[in-house]
Symmetry: C2
Subunit: 161 residues, 2 copies
Amino acid sequence: MPKLHWEDFFAGQVVECGPLEVSAEEIKAFAAAFDPQPMHLDEAAACATMMGGLCASGWHTCAMMMRMVADGLVLDSSSMGATGCPEVKWLAPVRPGDRLRVRVEVLDTRPSKSRPEMGFVNARFDTLNAHGVRVMTLTSHLMFGRRPPASAADGPRAAAP
Amino acid sequence: MPKLHWEDFFAGQVVECGPLEVSAEEIKAFAAAFDPQPMHLDEAAACATMMGGLCASGWHTCAMMMRMVADGLVLDSSSMGATGCPEVKWLAPVRPGDRLRVRVEVLDTRPSKSRPEMGFVNARFDTLNAHGVRVMTLTSHLMFGRRPPASAADGPRAAAP
């Protein structure tokens, strides 16, 4: 039984996840697989771009955020995934050696109208570096299973006839 | 000199990128690194979830979309990156063996007010599988360098005095 169900979330709640440190090698490996632009792939080429040096792909930052939120919140919950993100903003470059963390703030929660076993949690995910600079912010509608009602075996027993 | 500059984009323009085929091994490797939830990590465990079988992390789908758009559009352009995505929606599961492609539609373009060497391209990116099912849609504001004015050496020469 996971620790966190839909009922455990409330507006204003804050959960801290992370940290996670990213290396130049990890930045370049993600870029080689998924986003082979010069600013993510090679130090010298990156210096000639607007970014002024090697920085992580925005999608790599999303993936690292997910890893921190998985370890810090989702894996010990009744999470049923997410339908998407109404907003993703890349605010500042993520550099080699950056130590990232995620501040999750619950914006609101509501039960599902069509699926009584499920509820929604609308939350903001701010990813910050060690200097406290917000490098990315996004919002997402997460789905969580609701806490099952206590079974008869757990509750008070009727007296045997 | 890259082929595509900001001036080459216009509202209504459609660019097709891809295809890219994803394997069960790739889905599980991405999940192990970034999103170790049961539906992305293990076939048997995935069958017990709402997804009914192994499927790619939504962030993996974003990363694969980026790879197709990099190869099909961005790498031969004056791209200067993107500030974020006003919308990301995961619409249908991406399964092992799926052959994905991306349909990019330019929504509008505008020059930068503060940076005359740059312009914005607002576009929708629909990721589809081989059955034509839209598995993800997102919008993004891309930044591109503007085409440099033809240098004097390229234009008609003044007659030597």
